[in-house]
Subunit: 133 residues, 2 copies
């Protein structure tokens, strides 16, 4: 059994981020590594959260938005008071993501069109060069 916690270096290697980034996320209350003396130890929970953080970033969400949403994935049975509020937040977030998906599909379609045009252009040019030879 491998202690189930990672030190900062292992964590950085695992997710391709810098120590500064992890400390920054902790300061912003996105991660909560436990301490062994003054050193940080990142738990399974931190790894799950970091995965979601990096995903959120790729989708263009700010760290503050991400912080609020993280609660969603880590609600335990203690915080019923917040549950309803968090659920509403999640609904909005889901709507955002589905809108983004739709727009992304449209954009992919348009880009493919453009590329088809470009491919045709390139074929033409290749032909001209062959003809000139």
């Amino acid at each position: 059994m491998t202690t189930d916690t990672l030190n900062i270096r292992q964590m950085c290697d695992a997710f391709d981020v810098t120590p500064r980034t992890l400390r920054f996320y902790e300061a912003k209350e996105l991660l909560f590594p436990i301490r062994e003396g003054q050193r940080r130890l990142f738990t399974k929970r931190d790894r799950a959260r970091l995965k979601l953080i990096l995903r959120g970033k790729r989708f263009g969400f700010s760290l503050e938005e991400i912080r609020q949403l993280l609660d969603l994935y880590h609600m335990d049975d203690g915080q019923e008071a917040q549950l309803s509020k968090t659920y509403v937040l999640a609904e909005r977030h889901l709507a955002d993501m589905e809108a983004q998906k739709a727009e992304l599909e449209e954009a992919i379609g348009e880009l493919k069109e453009q590329m088809a045009w470009g491919a045709e252009k390139l074929a033409q040019l290749a032909k001209e060069k062959t003809a000139a030879a």
Copy 2:
């Protein structure tokens, strides 16, 4: 026929951005409004580009990345030299977008799971309250 160009105010209203943003995009060579005296007039081409800029931003691309990609949508027959290079860029961009789409779909799935869990929790709580009454 309505002159086919928009002044800065009309452009701002049409896309819900500020004048500062449009001037900034021009400075960064993302837009190329023509000048009537010293005033800017935004053409159909600028409107098409701005639409793509705002879309790119929603997908989390930087303005510099967007600038490079914009050429893709505005290649005319003059720049054959760049065409091939731009095409390669487009392929990478397309791959990025499709990867993003896949990840987005996964994320949507996971979020829905979480929400189902939350919904169940909420139902439980409602039931308990009813029982207590």
